[in-house]
């Protein structure tokens, strides 16, 4: 590699995390640590009904008996769950309109480029912004209301639509599903609730921006999306977090339910603080995401671009129960410096003629480790099921690792399962071709990586696709060589 490129690399490597700033807002905090008292306190604070408190306590009891999973290819110092805060919210009361929102907060959103005001209208995006734990602003409620769509913080849904929440909460990811899901079930603070009634096509793309802000505050969002018969919705989730030295735990749970002919598209761009070049700081992102295709011909599609977090532990999955239901997983996971990602999907084929597609692109640079871990399971009843999986890994530099751990289990002879995986580095001839056309090495690498990820990026909604491409280039720039 040329000297000039190396100079550029060093320059870029020294770049600070672009979104690393914090907002000074008075925080209302509970004591550190976790106990039944804290669980009761969270529940009381939110004025939750008895059944939900019981559900939380049951989850907490289950969590106490569980052990932190060790099977993923990730390493971190032990997490002291008693040193964390389990609830934090801006101290002021819930604002009724944007005018009432803390100006500091609005400034933060502006820095993040969240289209909350007019820009939101132009972009056609309704935003349920989660600032730490309480949703503080929700727009476009009326438009959505006219269509019969419910899009609100889940704490509000518990009050306003208890029957829906009670029916679906924990029905896809049970309270004791896994260590982090159990923890989330016990202490979840807030999150989004989406309900699309029968036959409704959601008039706009729904979007939530998450932001971790309070020092030492674990974030435990809970998202629940239900699409009734024939309904459809596209949901966007985007994340940035301020720069912190301490590692922060994030254990979210996302549940999707699709009934007959319903379609849910869930897109994520995850760009939380990854820690510095030496692996100091950064977010621990331990997320359980799962969708249930309960109805005939229902469809759930996960698209994710994961560039942030010190550690990503995330397996958005589909339970394909309804006859003819479809599951999709499109993923780009990019790790640089000391980042660790262990991500993939599970496709569980239960119903007849179910089909799933998995496209995973992993890019490792610096000293990072990037693992694809996935399961395709065809149950005996899933006649005519079909799966196609492609996982490709790209290595940039010889200090990083790229790993592939797919599990394929087929118990039905009429099912067809195909799996392909490749690992390679950026081809010299491609680089040479680009450079001979006058592109700098940096630009050439950016171009090739974007091409490598094209199959996934094209699945993203417009707003995200642009952001994601920039994100890939920025995340990579410091590492080429």
């Amino acid at each position: 590699m040329s000297m000039t490129t190396e100079a550029t690399i060093n320059e870029l490597a020294a770049q600070k995390y672009k979104y690393g700033f914090t907002t000074d807002i008075e925080m209302e905090e509970f004591p550190k640590g976790l106990s039944t008292d804290i669980v009761r306190l969270i529940s009381a604070k939110k004025g939750e009904p008895e059944w939900l408190l019981e559900w939380r306590l049951k989850a907490y009891a289950a969590w106490l008996k569980m052990e932190e999973p060790e099977w993923a290819r990730i390493h971190h110092p032990p997490i002291d769950y008693d040193a964390l805060y389990y609830y934090a919210a801006p101290a002021k009361a819930m604002p009724k309109s944007l005018d009432e929102v803390d100006p500091e907060l609005l400034k933060t959103y502006e820095k993040l480029g969240i289209p909350l005001n007019e820009r939101a209208a132009l972009a056609g995006v309704a935003v349920d912004a989660v600032f730490d734990s309480v949703s503080v602003a929700t727009t476009f409620r009326e438009t959505l209301g006219k269509a019969g769509v419910i899009f609100c913080p889940i704490s509000e849904a518990v009050r306003e639509h208890p029957e829906l929440v009670r029916k679906y909460l924990g029905s896809v990811v049970p309270a004791g599903d896994n260590y982090f899901a159990a923890l989330n079930s016990a202490v979840f603070s807030d999150g989004s609730f989406v309900f699309i009634p029968k036959g409704v096509r959601c008039p706009m793309e729904l979007s939530t921006y998450f932001r971790i802000n309070a020092r030492n505050t674990g974030q435990f969002e809970r998202t629940l999306i239900i699409a009734e018969e024939g309904a459809s919705v596209s949901y966007l989730e985007g994340c940035t977090a301020p720069m912190r030295d301490e590692n922060q735990l994030h254990a979210a749970v996302v549940e999707l339910v699709a009934l007959d002919e319903a379609k849910i598209k869930y897109s994520t761009v995850q760009n939380w603080y990854p820690g510095d070049a030496d692996g100091k700081g950064g977010i621990y992102n331990f997320v359980t995401k799962r969708g249930a295709c309960r109805g005939r011909n229902s469809k759930i599609s996960w698209t994710q671009v994961e560039t942030g977090s010190a550690i990503t532990w995330k397996y958005p999955s589909c339970i394909l129960q309804g006859e003819g239901s479809v599951g999709e997983f499109y993923s780009v996971a990019l790790t640089n410096n000391r980042q660790q990602a262990d991500t993939g999907t599970k496709m569980i084929h239960i119903g007849k003629n179910t089909s799933s597609t998995i496209i995973s692109k992993g890019i490792s640079a610096g000293h990072s480790n990037n693992t694809y871990r996935g399961l395709v399971k065809i149950m005996p009843g899933a006649s005519g099921a079909r799966n196609f999986t492609q996982c490709d890994s790209l290595l940039i530099g010889d200090q990083c690792g790229a790993h592939t751990v797919p599990y394929i289990e087929n118990r039905n002879a009429s099912a067809k399962v195909e799996h392909e995986a490749t690992t390679s580095k950026i081809a010299e001839d491609q680089l040479f071709y680009c450079r001979s056309r006058g592109l700098s090495e940096e630009d050439a690498v950016g171009l090739i990586v974007n091409g490598f990820c094209k199959d996934v990026l094209k699945e993203l909604p417009m707003e995200f696709a642009v952001e994601a491409q920039k994100l890939l280039a920025v995340s990579l720039e410091g590492s080429v060589g």
Partner: protein, 366 residues
């Protein structure tokens, strides 16, 4: 005895040894029946119930007296083997010699369940050559837990062809640990037809530049048989190729397993790893579990794997039918073609002929 592995161990998640642990195995009885040996004009070493039978063996120039040796690695079955220190072959081919072929026959039979734990050692000096044809057969309930310690010296070539036709009441667990030096080759092919439960576990270490490992297998299973082929190829030097083709044909309620891990160390630049596993499910109750795994720490590598599981391709069936071939015949032709392909990695003519004959008779029974 060291504990048998349970499904809680990640490497054993698809193979349940409880049917084996439920049986109490005694020591091997003195064998009564003489084995039917294949008509192959090669020197042979014949083991009856785990003991070398010199009357039936021809002797082999490079066979040394058996001497127990320390077992390396931490595979649970190898540890159990180490504990029992059974008899086995001890072959050393001096540098530069082409030792030709050697038949290794194991025949087991007895009335009460028994177990034997052969420990084999094969060492090839620099530039040496050997083709080992291993035949495992038997009747009744028994457990063969074999261990192979293989060393392939610089530029040497070791072909290892196995035909496992144990009794369907028997258990066969075989662990192979192979160290392969620079420019050397270890070519392995296992054809598995027998055993109630079987598992072949191979660890191949590519230690020098241009070392090569071919770990191929075919499994033809029916009834309630369970066959597991598990491999780890460790690329520990630059420029090493590894190749794997694993084919399974599953009838009845049979269950096939393939777990193939390729590890590429940071030093192993220019690694070229390829792995393909395909399974044909002939009955609605058959099951196939595949776990191909890549662990890569070098950047200038080319590694890929592919896996397919399914029934016969209906388009191919249609193509043949459109040429006037009745459906039943068309299906038969396609299954035969799949099996033929499975034998492609066997480059040794006499072995291939033997495998083909066995395949023919398996097919006749289905």
């Amino acid at each position: 005895m060291n504990a048998l592995p349970t499904r809680k161990l990640e490497a054993w998640r698809y193979t349940d040894l409880r049917p084996l642990s439920a049986i109490s195995f005694g020591t091997p009885p003195v064998a009564a029946t003489a084995p039917d040996l294949p008509d192959l004009p090669f020197p042979r070493l014949v083991f009856l119930n785990g003991a070398l039978n010199s009357a039936l063996s021809t002797g082999f120039t490079h066979a040394k007296p058996f001497a127990p040796f320390a077992v390396r690695g931490t595979q649970p079955m190898a540890l159990i083997n180490a504990e029992h220190a059974g008899e086995g072959i001890n072959i050393e081919i001096p540098a530069g010699q082409d030792a030709g072929e050697l038949l290794l026959v194991s025949q087991a039979s007895g009335t009460a369940p028994f177990a034997f734990h052969p420990r084999h050692r094969v060492k090839l000096g620099q530039g040496a050559k050997l083709t080992l044809i291993e035949l495992d057969k038997g009747e009744g309930t028994y457990w063969q837990n074999a261990m192979f310690e293989v060393e392939v010296g610089q530029g040497a070539k070791f072909q290892h062809f196995r035909l496992q036709q144990e009794s369907t009441d028997a258990f066969n667990t075989t662990s192979i640990h192979a160290d392969i030096a620079g420019d050397a080759a270890y070519e392995h092919f296992s054809l598995t037809l027998g055993s109630k439960i079987s598992r072949t576990e191979i660890e191949a270490n590519l230690l020098g530049q241009n070392a090569l490992a071919h770990l191929n297998a075919a499994q033809l299973l029916g009834g309630t048989q369970h066959g597991d082929f598990t491999t780890i190829i460790r690329h520990k030097a630059p420029n090493c190729p590894s190749r794997q083709t694993v084919k399974s044909v599953l009838a009845g309620r049979a269950r096939g397993v393939f777990q193939g891990k390729i590890e590429v160390d940071q030093i192993a630049q220019k690694t070229d790893g390829y792995q393909m596993s395909q399974a044909l499910l002939l009955s609605p109750d058959a099951e196939m579990d595949i776990k191909p795994e890549l662990q890569i720490f070098a950047d200038d590598v080319k590694c890929s794997h592919g896996a397919t599981i399914g029934a016969l391709d209906e388009e191919q069936v249609f193509y043949l039918r459109s040429r006037g071939i009745p459906e039943a015949d068309a299906r038969q032709i396609l299954i035969r073609a799949f099996l033929e392909e499975a034998l492609e990695p066997v480059t040794h003519d006499a072995s291939k002929a033997l495998f083909e004959e066995v395949l023919e008779s398996w097919w006749g029974r289905q």
